[in-house]
């Protein structure tokens, strides 16, 4: 996947935003992740040239933090909360069901059609709504295992706006 020139320019622009920061790496990567959805090696090389850190170090940072991803995520990111409050109310069964319905092996995986990525989240802070999950920014409160197939079907069939 070649990085388009426009993307390259934009990445350089992002790097320049933080020119006066002593250690801008995290901010640059956060911006890139937000804007492009992932931070592949080629992008890391551009950042490396701009801020003078070795690519291996940037790669180390990207793979350390779970918010940064090397691969593009699905159109819908399903985040199942596995915080303690949700866990004691059965969120493990929720995520198991989500994975089962989407035929995925583990959290972090994406479906082949690029529609869904499933993430395990550590507390989204909506503990009163436990167990919960998010699809992009929408929060689904007080879930039951039996709710899952229907919710996913709605997204699969395009009944929900992205």
């Amino acid at each position: 996947m070649a990085i388009q020139n426009i993307a390259k320019e934009r990445i350089i622009e992002i790097c320049n935003l933080y020119k006066n920061e002593p250690t801008p790496l995290m901010m640059i990567l956060s911006d890139i992740q937000k804007e492009f959805g992932y931070i592949p090696l080629e992008v890391q090389e551009i950042v490396s040239e701009q801020i003078g850190l070795p690519v291996a170090e940037i790669y180390g940072v990207v793979t350390f933090y779970s918010f940064f991803s090397l691969k593009p995520k699905g159109k819908y990111v399903i985040g199942v909360c596995l915080g303690t409050a949700c866990y004691v109310k059965g969120s493990q069964a929720i995520i198991d069901k989500v994975l089962e319905v989407l035929k995925l092996k583990k959290a972090g995986d994406s479906t082949e059609d690029g529609l869904f990525t499933v993430d395990a989240l550590r507390c989204i802070g909506a503990c009163a709504l436990a167990p919960t999950m998010k699809i992009n920014d929408r929060v689904f409160p007080k879930l039951k295992v039996s709710d899952i197939p229907g919710i996913i079907k709605d997204y699969q069939e395009g009944k929900v706006e992205a």
Partner: protein, 593 residues
Amino acid sequence: MEKKLLNIKIEGHPYQVEEGLTIMEAARKCGYDIPHLCTFENGLCSRGSCRVCLVEVTGARGLIASCVYPINEGIDIHINSQKALAARRTSVELLLSNHNKNCQQCIKNGNCELLLAAQMTGARDDMYQGEQTETTVDEIAPGIMRDTSKCVLCGRCVETCKALQGIGVLGFQKRGFKTIVGPADNRSFSESPCMQCGQCILVCPTGALLEKSEIEKVDEAFKAGKKVIVQTAPAVRATIAEEFGEKIGTTGTGKMVAALHRLGFHRVFDTNFAADLTIMEEGTELLNRIKNKGVLPQITSCSPGWINYMEYFYPDLIPNVSTCKSPHEMEGAIIKSYYAEKHNLKPEDIFVVSIMPCTAKKYEKTRKENAAVNNLPDVDAVLTVRELARMIKRAGINWQKLPEEEFDNDLLGKYSGAGVIFGTTGGVMEAALRTAKFILTGQEAGFLDFKEVRGQKNVKEAEFDLAGQKVKVAITSGMANAKPLLDDIRAGKSPYAFIEIMGCPGGCINGGGQPYVKPCFLPNEKDNIRDTYRKKRAAVLYSEDERQTVRQSHNNPDIKAIYKDFLGEPCGEKSHHLLHTSYNANRTRFPKK
């Protein structure tokens, strides 16, 4: 300034030690060796992460990593407390539970710091069992191998690559139990901007980083009945004896030659011959540049690690780099041309083995630019000093009982003292200076010892009068040291005419293929051996230089003969074909996969 003395206690005994030391250093001075893994070079790399050096300190919460904890007045240290003993043992047992324990076939066996720590802590076999971190084995790069199943995540290699070479090819990646060390994207060294210098191998405590062995390749050549000719680099004689338990700084030339003879090599040559050849070629190249207002400064090209670095990071400086092949490549090309011709041998039947202090030379020999005769590689196999020692041990040869023998005097046998000192930083420069005046004017230089260019300083500079012309030169080694000089050239403000750059800090005597200098395995060396070993090894070369009757390259009779009988003149057409090379300006740091 006098350092303040602090009163400390170890196991209840009072000691006085100077301020500023860690517990581990202080303990060593008082006669205690605390097991350790991640710490190295007193502070260059101390992550305090392996937890193998834990001790108990009265009043402190939890146990203390002695490698990073500074002593203070009145500190009361317990190395032998039951709690500390148990914790150190568990740390090692946990490391072993995620370690590929095929020790018997591991090349590092005998030099493995994890095994030593296991012995010292009394770690129990297979105490904890479970899943292993996903393993990556990189055997693609010609110089260096990486096997993450042996890695203990000490971080020494990461720090070394970054601090000494300024590159940072290696880094930690992922986190938690999945953490590994490797080049970005977990690639092979050959798909990353790695110069393959092997400095990482020298610091690795286990078998996670190793040279890629070519012993089998040499065996195959013998089996196939080839004429296997071996050459040894200048720096090998300064260190090979260490592999057999001799003290650092012991000359090994004669015994090494004797051993090579016993290993069945057809001829045993000294790369020094080619070093002399290099001086003739490179010196002529320099003077031509000065005369013809060519690109200056000229930079040496003997170190393939440096060449790799240059191609990756400073390809715009290619015009500055001497086109001379490195000496062993020259020697290989001469063996397959001149020597083959004289002896009526087919170049295809010759197999050239180079014994080198270097891992980058393993890569260098694979370059298509280094195949002068019939597209055959100039050199067929490169063995490090450590590999040679393994071959010698494998053959049952007892080093102590070996006689001293001479290199084979067969066309390429003679060498000058100038060639010998190629093995240490400043050596190439000194050798060149000894010959420069002669090339320029046909007259001998008045003196031979250019002491300004010797020593282990990061960057050395000097100014010389060459037949009325002032010439400024600089010498450096290790890429972190070289970088400012290179940036100056790039910016057009370098004051030098000639720069010697070696990839490894200190030059070849500290090459990535040299014997390990691990204080924990060197009970007969002084505590400060890490600070002195390079100087001791260099001293071996300088004293061999002094013992030579011929100490200038141009006065080596075999050099005179080869120019007369075969090459014609330095930098002439034949030289150009056999002894010079070209560089790649388009090397991608991370080639697309």
